[in-house]
């Protein structure tokens, strides 16, 4: 593979770990154990992760509370880099850690890619704890259940509702990261996610509508949802008699929630440089400075935003989180990196290497991804559409980098500049290289969506958030029958 990356020959030596830590309330027993295990191996770089987590899930199906469970988990992994290749070993217990490090080093030796030097990192010592007003993971089960019972009852008592689903989950995770470069970080994170689904039935016709929500562990996210639960149930029932859109190309307006999913699927994944760094052709397509959209288009990924599900202070390679412009004024300005991809592309690491848990190595992921607000109002966007579709909320989205699909939970025809009849849920599709150019209006009403999660490389669901103002896209393919 050719490219502008110049690698230097790296001589293999014994890693030495030097720690100069003032005691900041670390778990010193664990620290000594981990630091000791890192010492004395023949590798270019080694890191150790350890984590402990607790989770609660509550699942309703119709009037039955189907599952209420508690889980506790702990384990860790070692990742070793030798001459350009990685060895990775996950484990359940810390005992015999030194042997596990040796195994990871041995595995890395099996491969023989061209050696490279990781993007440099300052040795960092830190502890990070969430600041929550009302920590969901500390709330009594009875309180959680009271809220969910209430929403379930509201949905079930709504006309034509056959059944419901509620999936609630909260978790706290404490991770320890240490590397042969002298970094030692302890981070605690909490997360909450829930989805309420109403299922309506009439004869053999079945339709559903859902509400997704989430937070960084703040319990307030599941409070005060009576009205939303009611609307969700009403919408499911209304879909029973709604028509299917006629498939074809339309001008579409996306609400902030769906536009956020669009930003994530249509462009976010293509910005993950692990798709790009080894692929010369893709690198040429994704060359910085290339125009992807109009001057009004700005797409950002920012893990340093406060208190969102995709927020963190350090990624799972111990790199500090920072804001990255992916597209600025319509032009490709940056992309998301791990230390490896940044090094190999000669760019700057962005702190986007994340792992879902200790069973997986960190890979390049998004955090909080959004389209920055513009100046158009919703009414202005609507006004000059002769026939189009207004799409809201989401079922899901997926991408193959070039092609993407995302689906709306709620859709309405637009006729002569006005919202018209409710439609069955629609799937939209497009090609990233043309669709971003076709965004011709960006609203002024940015909202961040905290529901859902992201899956990649078998790691799912990773807490992320995405957002956008209302946006309008010309010539968007809408599937239908």
């Amino acid at each position: 593979m050719s490219g502008d990356w110049q690698h230097s020959t790296i001589s293999e030596g014994h890693c030495a770990v030097l720690f100069f830590i003032r005691d900041k309330g670390y778990n010193t027993g664990m620290r000594d154990l981990i630091v000791d295990a890192l010492n004395g191996h023949s590798a270019d770089y080694i890191e150790i992760h350890f984590e402990e987590s607790q989770a609660t899930s509550i699942v309703y199906r119709g009037e039955r509370l189907e599952e209420i469970s508690r889980a506790s988990s702990s384990g860790g992994n070692v990742r070793a880099l030798v001459k350009g290749s990685w060895g990775f070993v996950s484990f359940n217990r810390l005992d015999g850690l030194k042997g596990k490090v040796s195994l990871a080093v041995e595995e890395a030796r099996l491969a023989s890619r061209e050696p490279f030097r990781l993007f440099s990192a300052e040795p960092t010592l830190d502890t990070v704890a969430p600041q929550l007003k009302m920590d969901a993971t500390a709330m009594p089960l009875a309180t959680k259940k009271d809220f969910l019972d209430r929403y379930n009852d509201i949905m079930l008592s709504s006309p034509k509702i056959q059944s419901t689903r509620i999936n609630y989950r909260d978790m706290k995770r404490r991770t320890t990261f240490a590397s042969t470069e002298g970094t030692y970080i302890e981070q605690a994170k909490t997360d909450l996610s829930a989805r309420l689904t109403a299922i309506a039935r009439e004869d053999s016709e079945i339709q559903q509508a859902g509400l997704s929500l989430g937070s960084n562990g703040e319990f307030s996210a599941v409070k005060g949802l009576d009205e939303k639960a009611r609307e969700t149930a009403k919408r499911a029932a209304a879909l029973l008699s709604a028509p299917q859109v006629k498939g074809g190309e339309y001008t579409v307006i996306l609400d902030p929630i769906l536009a956020g999913v669009f930003a994530h699927e249509a462009f976010g994944h293509l910005s993950e440089s692990d798709h790009v760094y080894q692929n010369e052709n893709l690198r040429q397509i994704m060359v910085l400075g290339k125009r992807f959209g109009g001057k009004h288009l700005n797409i950002v990924d920012d893990p340093s935003m406060h208190n969102l599900r995709g927020s963190y202070k350090y990624d799972d390679e111990g790199m500090p989180a920072r804001k990255s412009y992916l597209i600025r004024e319509g032009v490709l300005e940056g992309r998301l990196h791990s230390r490896e991809t940044a090094a190999k592309m000669g760019e700057t690491a962005t702190g986007n290497a994340r792992a879902i848990n200790y069973l997986f190595p960190p890979i390049v992921r998004m955090s909080n991804t959004f389209i920055e607000p513009g100046s158009a109002s919703f009414e202005e966007m609507l006004r000059d559409i002769e026939e189009g579709v207004y799409v809201k909320d989401w079922y899901g989205g997926t991408t193959s980098l070039e092609m993407f699909t995302f689906s709306a939970g709620e859709a309405y025809m637009i006729r002569r500049g006005r919202l018209a009849e409710l439609l069955r849920p629609v799937v939209l599709t497009g090609n990233v290289f043309t669709t971003l150019q076709n965004i011709d209006a960006i609203g002024d009403d940015l909202e961040m969506n905290q529901g859902g999660g992201c899956g990649k490389g078998g790691q799912s669901p990773l807490p992320v958030s995405d957002g956008s103002p209302h946006i309008r896209i010309r010539h968007c393919v809408v599937g239908g029958r």
Partner: protein
Amino acid sequence: MQNDKAKLEEVLRSARKVAEQAEVFSASARATTVQFEANELKQVESRESSSTALRIFREGKIGFAIASGGGDREALVDMAVETSQFGSPANFRFPSSQDYSKVRIFDPKVEKIAMERMVEIGKQLIAKVRGHTPDILCDVQITKGTVAVSLTNSQGGEGGYDKSFFSLSLAGILVRDTDILWVEDSESSCRSDLVGIPELTDRVVWQLEMAKKKATVPTKLLPIIFTPHGVASALLSPLVLAFNGKAVLEGASPLKDKLGEQVFDKKLSLWDDATVAYGVGSYPFDDEGVPSQRLPLVANGVVMSFLYDLQTAALAGKKSTGNGRRAGGGFPSPAISALVLEKGEVSFQAMVKDMKEGLIVAAVIGAEQGNILGGDFGGNVLLGYKVEDGEIVGRVKDTMIAGNVYQVLKELPGIGQEARWVGGTLQTPPLYCSGVSVTTKGN
């Protein structure tokens, strides 16, 4: 495994002190994966995971807790007791001791495969595919592993088994200007010698060959041949949902009142089969200790049965079908073991020959995003080919398909005579369907 069993018994003993009934389930897995990225060996991984789950009936209600990895097993009983205060009513009994018939799922040779040999296989796969298309970039994963499962309950039920698995997967990406072509395929089995290396590369090379030229389709209703991979990608999710005993019980399955009725084409028969020798979905008993079986779901188009675990079966007045499964060792729920769609009598070539204008669909993205509970399927065709006058003329792009499985599978022009495994949990021939809605750009 002896050590493990003692721990299980210990948890069971302390649970019995506070509960009317109790069940302990444990699973541990080890796997090694050799991973190539962009044609080069990037990473070798070893993973170990384990979990112990406790389910109790306390004061007539179900409590549940799980500890994974080195998670706190001592706290399991306390956590289960805490959740039982709010749990659903205990309405069944854990199965007592029984004989499980032997299902072949362990091959001692798998563990002994050297990492060097796995690296060799990866290089071989990549060389073969690049022999056809030199500038393709392949991501390849070769995985070997074993799983050990054991279960014990207060009613005297107990069992344990070891399972091995070996799998290959290859995904190739070819970028020309802004055109991206993805090809992919995989093979897996509990027995390493049943994993076909040349078969895998032959299929990938066929995909590349067919995708060389581009073709366009009009926006209209067209016949579609779904390849085995296409069946898994587009049609499977709505069916899996509809046969789930839970969806049937709550009235959310379109098949709710259709037991014994002709819903699908007469040529269509579908089984859930947990007894296939060396199938990666196979097991001697499910995750609740109920013996596995070969369960007819559809026979000649008639709906025959649904999938049940113990709790759902009790609520529905049925018997568990041995489909109580635990994702990640967690709370049991009805799920397929492996679906087997019976093959038909038409060759793939004959189906293609029969088409005046149509599509062959191998993969779609976004198929799970519609109203799959209602049977809808659809999405963007990630890999598909246009057929004109009985000939494959090239790959299609910017194309969406949409339909409903209950309409499309009601009358099938043909079912293929060559079935194969996709992802280890579905064995299917190609399906020849008619009247699927196709939407393209610029219509």
